[in-house]
């Protein structure tokens, strides 16, 4: 039994899978720890390195949660600006930097949603229209994206973190602030829902 989809996909076909930045190896962990320490002391290069290493993962995660490139860019900017103002917020003893940044991004997205819910669009036709996702020539990916977007938030987050970003259940639990078993059950339930949604859509598989 594969513990995560990432492990399964690695065995299946590694070359077609984009390198997941959120996956943490020991040397990366040590590197992040060193960079975070230097950043706390005001090292500009260290902060720049942190940005270069992690902005893509934060941007992707924000895109998965919002489905909008501009919003994802804004969320990414908010996350790193927040980090600039809270250099000591990340504690290497308590977790890993990618999971920490994903957690901050998740909070930013939630806060933005709360703020947006206070306002109603003047043009009712504009309400609820999801931004078009750029999936040229990948209809099954587009169908899957739409299916993921309609999942309840707690399931969607689990799928994004574990399946799309290849986080372990432990890392996802750190991001979501819940137990590892909760992540596993949410993931299991999310897969059931996705398969049910996609059955009628005949997802094309060109593997």
């Amino acid at each position: 039994m594969w513990r995560t989809a990432g492990a399964f996909l690695k065995q299946l076909e590694v070359s077609e899978r984009p390198a997941a930045i959120l996956v943490i190896e020991p040397e990366k962990k040590s590197r992040d720890r060193d960079l975070a320490s230097r950043f706390r002391n005001g090292d500009r290069e260290a902060f720049s390195a942190i940005y270069q290493l992690h902005h893509s993962a934060v941007f992707r995660f924000a895109w998965y949660l919002t489905g909008d490139r501009d919003r994802a860019g804004e969320i990414t900017q908010e996350v790193f600006v927040w980090l600039v103002h809270h250099p000591s917020a990340f504690d290497p003893e308590r977790g890993e930097l990618p999971a920490f940044l994903a957690g901050v991004a998740r909070q930013m997205v939630r806060r933005r949603r709360r703020d947006e819910q206070r306002w109603l669009p003047l043009n009712e036709s504009a309400a609820g229209t999801a931004p078009a996702a750029p999936f040229a020539g990948a209809e099954d990916a587009e169908e899957l994206w739409k299916a993921i977007a309609t999942l309840p938030e707690r399931y969607r987050e689990a799928v994004i973190l574990c399946d799309m970003e290849e986080m372990s259940n432990e890392q996802a639990a750190a991001v979501l602030g819940c137990a590892v078993g909760t992540v596993w059950s949410r993931l299991h339930r999310a897969h059931e829902l996705l398969q049910r949604k996609l059955v009628g859509k005949k997802v094309k598989c060109s593997v």
């Binding site: 299946l12 984009p18 720049s48 941007f59 998965y64 750029p134 598989c205």
Partner: protein, 149 residues
């Protein structure tokens, strides 16, 4: 285990999303914020160091032994000029420093052990509102010689 079709779709979706790039403006904005924040901090540090240095200096001045004063001038107070009306309490005065002929001071009853080569003495003169000198304080002298009074 999940459906292989679902796995494949996930793989393609991840590949599509991975191709998206963070807007270039984000990095510029983030680094600008870093520079702004860290440019401000040295100013605070300098202000803190300045305040600390000022406090230390003040402490040293307070704890240090009092410096020896210059030799006291024997004449620290003004002496009224004879035969002039005394000043009223509310009257404003002006003090000017002038060169006064030593002979005039001696004639007025002051004892001057030292006088300039030109016979002049520097003195602070208290001038009343009406412009008349009312008191005098020679810079170097021993006070009026009133032994004969």
């Amino acid at each position: 285990m999940r459906d292989p079709q679902l796995e494949a779709s996930m793989r393609r979706l991840a590949a599509q999303v991975a191709a998206m790039e963070t807007p270039q403006s984000v990095e510029a904005a983030v680094m600008a914020e870093f520079d702004r924040v860290h440019r401000r901090r040295p100013g605070r540090a300098l202000a803190f160091c300045g305040a600390l240095a000022a406090s230390l200096l003040a402490g040293l001045l307070l704890l240090a032994p009092a410096p020896k004063h210059a030799a006291p001038v024997e004449s620290q107070s003004f002496y009224p000029i004879p035969y002039t009306a005394p000043l009223e309490p509310y009257e404003r005065v002006l003090v000017v420093q002038e060169q006064v002929p030593a002979t005039e001071l001696i004639a007025a009853g002051f004892h001057l052990p030292v006088a300039g080569a030109d016979g002049m003495v520097r003195a602070d003169v208290m001038v009343s509102q009406d412009g008349r000198p009312r008191a005098i304080r020679p810079v170097v002298f021993n006070g009026p010689d009133r032994s004969d009074q």
